[in-house]
């Protein structure tokens, strides 16, 4: 079972990154052209918008889809793609300085993502090191299950809780009932 604790430091950080992802994604989607111009990469406008969709998806995943670890790793992979795009875009670019600033920002975000991933995996490792409680003796019955099966088949159950006869499974003609 994938483990995550929605109250832990790692999870809180992951949620923060989730909101950051959504904010960045919306900005990339809505202001893709402006961002592209600022970095001198107008030809990458549609690509930046696509990255915005990716960021929003990761953000929703981090905030709402349970275990944040796969989504943090998806962010790290996305960071790598962002950096590759920016590195390529800095070549022969009169606004290479702006693209460099963006590259630095992505690098910083990547560092936070990696810290978050490490923290989440450490928390899972700690959880997995704890002894698993043994509930295998907790039947609730005074005797073995085989002896208890059907012990309450005489229970008073009113007709409104019964399946109408016409809807009940009946043994096929000439056969014993089967499952």
């Amino acid at each position: 079972m994938a483990y995550y604790n929605r109250s832990s430091a790692g999870d809180n950080l992951a949620r923060g990154l989730g909101w950051f992802s959504i904010g960045l994604g919306v900005a990339e989607l809505m202001a893709g052209r402006t961002i592209a111009r600022w970095m001198g990469m107008e030809d990458k406008t549609n690509l930046i918008r696509a990255y915005g969709v990716r960021e929003i998806t990761a953000g929703v995943g981090l905030l709402a889809l349970g275990d944040p670890k796969p989504w943090i790793w998806s962010r790290i992979a996305g960071d790598a793609v962002d950096m590759a795009t920016l590195a390529e875009g800095m070549r022969d670019n009169p606004r290479a300085g702006n693209a460099g600033i963006a590259f630095g920002a992505v690098l910083a975000a990547t560092a936070v993502d990696i810290v978050c991933a490490q923290k989440l995996h450490q928390e899972e490792a700690h959880y997995r090191s704890l002894p698993v409680p043994d509930y295998s003796g907790r039947s609730g019955f005074p005797r073995p299950v085989s002896a208890m099966r059907g012990a309450a088949s005489d229970a008073p159950i009113a007709e409104d809780m019964r399946t109408p006869k016409i809807l009940q499974f009946q043994p096929a003609a000439g056969q014993a009932a089967t499952s």
Binding site: A64, D134, P142, V145, M148, S153, A155, T163, F169
Partner: protein, 390 residues
């Protein structure tokens, strides 16, 4: 007095609040000796149920000693008597109560007008479970006011511990009704989704009612171990295909009876529909995650029965209703008519046929309740059922 109070999403605190008082001649005040956190309380904690207000006292699974009785309840209750309080408040006089349909009592929901608008017709008043069900203060507290107390109680004879009888107020009859309304036959395979407290009670109920085989579906190892102890064949949905395994266990025909003991917060598995549900719920495009319902409709044997004790709060999306219709499935659902079952179940506990305390994994003082909500929600520390001692 101290009580667990709802302040918002993921924010339940142990506060000091005014003591309850008799407000109506049919009221009683109960000093709570033991209470529990129910799985459906998590829907409030996670803020998935509409109708909560800051300051509401939570909790609907509790028992204790009667310390004050209103004038019109004195013929039924006496100070000093030990009672479990059912989570459904019922008048005993309306048309539905006379039919034994206590969870849809027509008179106990004091916010009937609001509930009528949301549900078409109001359901019964419940303790500590939103203003849509009356906005009554709950029982995770030192004292609680019990409305219509002349009816809304289960008297407990001496010789039984709180832990043995506490769950008569909710999860035991809920699991029992879930199985009973399937009308289990000795040839039936009963598949139960969810091995939380209600799922565990449903497993035992299905066994006692004589199901040929009971199959329990979950992903938490200790919960599956407890299910197996109760007589279930277990399926860990993270390790194997539920559909394939159920077909294998039923000769390819599917289980005749399917029970949803999960409700509106089905875990997001690797399936597309459950991930979409989580995303849509987060974006407020739907209120309930219905993965279990969809899977039950898919796997159930045609002409079979779906029983739904799991709590749903509002709207679900992408329901394969054509599949359900064409397969001729019978649907049984609803909140539990607790007192309809409790005489019989109390007898079974007294006779030693079952001891519901098997499900308790954590017992803590009331002031540790807020932290235990998180432990229970996150399924940490092997937590299956939390009992609180005020």
């Amino acid at each position: 007095m101290r009580a667990l109070v709802w302040h918002g999403a993921n924010d339940i605190r142990c506060d000091t609040v005014p003591d309850p008082e008799i407000q109506h001649p049919r009221d009683a005040i109960v000093k709570v000796t033991t209470c529990a956190i129910c799985g459906s309380d998590l829907h409030l904690h996670d803020n998935f149920m509409p109708g909560m207000e800051k300051g509401d006292i939570v909790g609907h699974e509790f028992m204790g000693e009667v310390v004050e009785v209103g004038s019109e309840a004195k013929s039924a209750l006496k100070v000093g008597e030990r009672v479990v309080v059912p989570f459904t408040i019922w008048c005993g006089e309306c048309d539905q109560c006379k039919r034994g349909n206590y969870s849809v009592c027509e008179r106990s929901n004091r916010n009937k007008a609001m509930a009528d608008k949301l549900f078409g017709h109001a359901t019964a008043g419940l303790f500590g479970y939103t203003h849509l069900t009356g906005g009554y203060a709950g029982g995770q507290a030192e004292y609680v006011r019990v409305p219509m107390a002349d009816r809304t109680h289960i008297k407990i004879p001496s010789g039984l511990t709180d832990e043995q009888v506490l769950f008569l107020g909710d999860i035991f009859p809920t699991g029992w009704q879930a199985a009973a309304q399937c009308d289990i036959q000795p040839t039936d395979t009963v598949a139960i989704w969810g091995c939380g407290p209600v799922g565990q009670m449903t497993i035992r109920s299905a066994v006692l009612l004589g199901a040929k085989q009971v199959i329990a579906i979950d992903r938490v190892p200790e919960r599956l171990a407890m299910a197996k102890a109760g007589g279930a064949i277990t399926i860990n949905f993270e390790e194997e295909s539920v559909v394939e395994r159920l077909n294998e266990l039923t000769g390819g025909k599917g289980p005749e009876k399917c029970i949803d003991a999960v409700g509106m917060e089905a875990h997001a598995t690797a399936t597309i529909d459950s991930m979409m549900d989580r995303a849509k719920q987060a974006l407020m495009l739907e209120s309930d995650r219905a993965h279990v319902l969809r899977e039950m409709i898919y796997v159930c044997r045609p002409a079979g029965t779906l029983s739904i004790p799991g709590v749903y709060g509002g709207l679900i999306d992408k329901m394969p209703f054509g599949m359900a219709m064409n397969k001729g499935l019978t649907w049984r659902m609803g909140q539990t008519h607790v007192n309809r079952w409790t005489d019989d179940l109390l007898n079974r506990i007294q006779e030693g046929q079952i001891d519901p305390s098997f499900v308790i994994t954590h017992t803590v003082p009331l002031d540790q309740g807020p932290e235990m909500y998180k432990t229970f929600r996150d399924k940490r520390d092997g937590c299956i059922k939390v009992v609180l001692k005020p």
